[in-house]
């Protein structure tokens, strides 16, 4: 097994005086790995340390103990190789949609001809063509903003795509299914690693072949399940997979594990 992301007994505790970040839960003894091309999901309640886990993996925080290895080397800083699709506030309102998508490539000094070609390709892929020249601050449709955020991240070809904390949470059901389908199609085509972090069990199952369940305070992995839903949803369609007996049983099983405090 050629694991590219590996977490070994990773723990992180926020200092007690950091009351303003106490909203994010501590994590303890997290061990898992993501194989090349594998879609993985983490589900858990608020406060179970999901966001902390994402910050650790993307390289914004260093683990208190244990280690996180990316291609065998400890993660020490953020990198475009582990692309994060942020929840909100992470767009650049002063740029146009196309310039937002271009941002990473420009920072990495890709020649402008190649850059423009790639940006156009990804704007097209995410159906953003008609917004390309629009100033971002004028866009208040969350669905569009989310697709810009996705395009901005995907255009850099990250080997690992991290969907941070419920990015699809604000979409309505139809939009959500459509975007899940799009994510699956892109995953199929590019075969990148994918890490979906959410409290929506349904979404976690659809977008992965392995679901980790986090719970407790500090957050630990309390169980994990291997499935085959992501490739099947990509081929047969999301609704078809959702309707299967197997899916609803798995969903029930996982929901039983998730006991959120009131």
């Amino acid at each position: 097994m050629n694991a590219r992301l590996e977490l070994q007994n990773v723990s992180f505790a926020y200092p007690p005086e950091h009351t303003h970040v106490r909203f994010f839960g501590d994590v303890e003894d997290i061990t898992f790995s993501i194989r090349d091309g594998q879609p993985m999901a983490v589900v858990g309640c608020s406060g179970s340390g999901k966001t902390t886990l994402v910050r650790l993996i993307s390289g914004f925080l260093l683990p208190g103990s244990g280690q996180i290895l990316w291609n065998g080397r400890p993660v020490a800083n953020p990198s475009p190789e582990r692309g994060v699709v942020f929840q909100n506030n992470a767009m650049f309102p002063w740029l146009t949609v196309a310039e937002n998508v271009e941002f990473g490539l420009k920072m990495q000094k890709m020649p402008s001809g190649e850059r423009r070609r790639k940006v156009a390709e990804y704007l097209d892929l995410l159906n953003l063509g008609r917004f390309a020249a629009a100033s971002l601050y004028k866009i208040n449709d969350y669905n569009v903003l989310l697709r810009v955020s996705l395009a901005r991240c995907l255009v850099c070809d990250p080997p690992l795509l991290i969907l941070d904390d419920e990015p699809l949470g604000e979409l309505d059901d139809a939009q959500r299914t459509r975007l899940q389908k799009l994510l699956l199609n892109i995953w199929e085509a590019k075969q990148h690693m994918m890490l979906t972090v959410t409290h929506d069990v349904d979404e976690a199952l659809i977008l992965s072949t392995e679901v980790l369940i986090m719970g407790g305070r500090p957050g630990r992995i309390i169980d994990r399940y291997q499935t085959s839903f992501a490739p099947r949803a990509a081929h047969e369609g999301i609704q078809q997979v959702r309707r299967t007996q197997e899916f609803s049983e798995m969903r029930q099983t996982i929901l039983r594990h998730i006991v959120c405090g009131v």
């Binding site: 506030n89 992470a90 309102p93 990473g104 920072m107 601050y137 004028k138 901005r152």
Partner: protein, 288 residues
């Protein structure tokens, strides 16, 4: 005909009837968006002001020496524009004042933005500059006029220094606030897209701070203009502020009033220019 009146009203920004949407609202009292600009009332208030001024001067309730008529003030405006007052035309005085204001303002803006941004980014710079700025900031600019005269003499240098000091503190505070206003998500996003520190500074922190920096410029432009009169009280021989003060000494009330109005209009003009710049340069302000 009525449609023409309507178009003229629209061009002037006057709408006597409320917009359709506001009419449909049941709760208007307390809803900020239901309070229009009231341009028609602004025009009314200016007309009333001028008429009252005119009536009082015509009835000579107050002696003409203290309360000149609007026409006398207008005549002075023309006279000084053409013939000048003590060696300079009105435009000449304006240019001299402008030079002082712009020099102080630009120096203060450039250095203030540099210091403010460094303070927002570095603990060392913040620690070094914080006590100095916090100590001098609350002092009204007028209070250090004596020391400035002692050190810098009575030339333009002292006046520019005074305006510089007024601008600098405001710009430091605003640029620092601008740096701090960036959301950590934007910074994280930039780094995770492969930006270096320098690129984060240039493409995220600085751009993000622009709205606060421009607010600072707008405020300090106003303060500069207001401080100018004080600056020109000090042994000046020309400038709009000096002209007013000098005329007051000889009880030339018409020139005083004319000068005050001119300064008011210019100050307002600056504000309009700054607002226009804001709309052009930072249209995303408040919409991030």
């Amino acid at each position: 005909m009525s449609s023409m009146v309507q178009t003229i009203k629209q061009k002037l920004g006057i709408s006597v009837e409320e917009s359709g949407f506001n009419q449909k609202k049941t709760v208007k009292f307390g809803d900020p968006s239901a309070v229009g600009a009231g341009r028609e009332w602004s025009i009314l208030s200016i007309i009333v002001l001028i008429v009252a001024w005119f009536v009082v001067s015509e009835m000579e309730i107050v002696p003409k020496l203290f309360w000149p008529s609007p026409i006398a003030v207008l005549e002075k405006f023309w006279e000084i524009s053409v013939e000048g007052y003590r060696g300079h035309t009105l435009f000449g005085h304006f240019l001299i004042s402008m030079y002082r204001v712009l020099a102080g303002f630009l120096l203060g803006t450039v250095l203030g933005v540099l210091c403010g941004i460094s303070m927002g980014l570095s603990k060392i710079v913040r620690g070094l500059l914080d006590p100095i700025i916090e100590l001098y900031r609350p002092v009204p600019p007028l209070a250090y006029i004596p020391i400035i005269i002692i050190w810098m003499g009575i030339g333009d240098g002292g006046k520019i220094m005074l305006l510089f000091l007024a601008t600098f503190a405001i710009m430091v505070i605003n640029s620092r606030a601008g740096v701090k206003s960036v959301t950590v998500e934007k910074i994280h996003a930039a780094y995770s897209l492969g930006a270096t520190r320098g690129q984060v500074l240039r493409h995220v922190i600085l751009v993000n701070a622009l709205p606060e920096i421009m607010t600072g410029m707008r405020v300090s432009m106003g303060v500069c203009w207001a401080t100018l009169v004080a600056a020109e009280m000090v042994a000046a021989t020309a400038g709009l502020g000096w002209m007013v003060l000098n005329a007051a000494r000889y009880l030339r009330t018409d020139i005083v009033i004319m000068g005050v109005i001119v300064m008011g209009v210019i100050g307002y003009g600056f504000d309009l220019i700054m607002r226009l710049l804001e709309r052009k340069v930072i249209p995303w302000k408040g919409k991030a």
